[in-house]
Symmetry: C2
Subunit: 314 residues, 2 copies
């Protein structure tokens, strides 16, 4: 029983761990890959030389396939791409930018390229650019998000209708039941961030992981829409942003309020009030800090169980 995503990445489960800022270093990525999923190093919060070290440590920690997530709008893209090629990374997930710029370059080096989109329009652009697969990420996802606010339930079937490449669902998926729903909507695999942000091997701060575990429904919000929309936990920093937005703040003022290093301060350093705590709505499903392998197994077993019970009802 292998599907297109399992074949494309040569992995046991069609489950990809999202490359998240301040959480997805080599420890998390190699743990997920060793357990049969696809681990991704999140380069979004790394200087090029840091990324280089993480790739090297990941190669030392696993013989299984792993990849790197690259938000294309970050600076020093030439350096990052050179490191990826030089270190022999075989899988790259690009996001937050135009897929036309780097896809050819990577493909020519024999690298498998997947682009993350929040709309059908960009899924089509990605296919035009020559990607091997797309991730369709809905409004419920944590961190940076699309402006159109299309949810996973509405986005997936539209992207499935529009493109024939393997399709990975993201946004709101934290369980085997949600994985089955994504399959019903046309996905070949899932990308999961929030659950893995709270994994034992995540480099997120303990305070952050504990906050995720205790987070209730409705405690995240998509905000900062004048800059790049971001889903985060409703803490004091969020309240400041929300108030400023209600009072008609300019994009420039919002930039100043955000300042520098907000997500590091929250996710990596554990400042629960004044940090930017990027996480998805699915946080309400996280019930403990578990090893990545246990998360993978739980999701996969629940997926198989849910499928069996769905078919029994027929």
């Amino acid at each position: 029983m292998t599907n297109r995503i399992q074949k494309l990445f040569n992995i046991e489960y069609p489950i990809i761990q999202a490359g998240m800022v301040w959480c997805s270093g080599w420890r998390l990525a190699s743990a997920v890959s060793n357990a049969g999923g696809l681990g991704l190093i999140g380069s979004g919060s790394m200087h090029p030389e840091t990324l280089e070290v993480h790739i090297q440590k990941c190669k030392a920690a696993t013989t299984k396939p792993f990849g790197v997530n690259v938000p294309l709008l970050y600076p020093e893209m030439d350096k990052i791409m050179k490191i990826i090629v030089d270190e022999g990374v075989k899988i790259v997930f690009t996001s937050a930018g135009n897929p036309a710029i780097w896809t050819n370059f990577l493909k020519e080096k024999g690298i498998t390229v997947t682009h993350v989109v929040s709309s059908t329009k960009f899924a089509l652009k990605s296919v035009d650019a020559g990607v091997d697969a797309v991730v369709a990420e809905g409004f419920e996802a944590g961190g940076h998000n699309g402006r159109e606010e299309t949810t996973t339930m509405c986005l997936l079937p539209k992207v499935r209708e529009a493109v024939t490449v393997p399709l990975i669902a993201a946004g709101g998926i934290a369980s085997g039941r949600a994985m089955l729903a994504a399959e019903a909507l046309g996905a070949d695999g899932v990308q999961i961030g929030t659950r893995f942000a709270a994994a034992l091997e995540s480099s997120g701060h303990e305070n952050f992981k504990n906050r995720i575990v205790n987070l209730g429904e409705g405690e995240t919000m998509l905000t900062m829409k004048q800059l790049v929309p971001v889903r985060m936990i409703k803490n004091r920093f969020y309240q400041q942003v929300a108030e400023a937005e209600q009072n008609g703040v300019s994009a420039e003022e919002l930039k100043n309020l955000l300042g520098r290093g907000r997500s590091k301060r929250g996710i990596f350093e554990g400042d629960m009030e004044d940090g930017e705590l990027e996480i998805g709505q699915a946080a309400s499903f996280v019930k403990g800090i578990l090893p990545a392998s246990a998360i993978l197994n739980e999701i996969w077993e629940e997926y198989l169980e849910s499928k069996k019970s769905l078919l029994k009802r027929q």
Copy 2:
């Protein structure tokens, strides 16, 4: 093959047509009920005496079960409830208000009561109030919506975990594939608004129906969050609201901008620029103006097909 929703309402398909303002009169409700679903008259846009006429005409047009949707925050609630009881309506869906106020009254009259919620907290309150079923409605739904912005993908499994009564999924469901996804997430049935707003028997204006048919992904937005959040089409009126909100408008000013009769002007009278055009994200799946019976059949057949093909992949 009958499940709890089919049994509760004594219907052939576990598909409920949402009670929508300016669309769901007796024509639409009776057409859906005659075709084997559950039709709901939407009382939200009706004076009590209008509702009375619609119930009478619906009774004349179908011998099958049908119901009335009642947004509890509307005025003249005593009159509306008296008409519902006097006319012998057997099924009521309440929404937009506290389920504790009217559930007992209706249950004592032998009426089956379902409450629409956008959070697990209110699902629990509804069960405490004694409802027979709940509708869990996600962020992607059209019209009035919850403040927490929880999507159908994230809301359904949480409500399913929390309550044991039959569960109806709403928000973003316009196809058999989405119906199957909702079942995977724990739903016993689905409530569909957007697809039926564009049905032949909907009392929405032809302009409105044609606009739905031509609506692309990302062309609706949840807005007016300072009053009651509403999902609507991005037309000129929406742009005015969005600009006012970006400039720090007060709730009072927003109320004045909205004025009276905006949704009637748009949905019923066909003013596509200055009317309030309430519709869900699922509008991007609507491809034509069809009879309610054809919509029901298409969704049901696709649901069965999707289930079969999901099974084959096992």
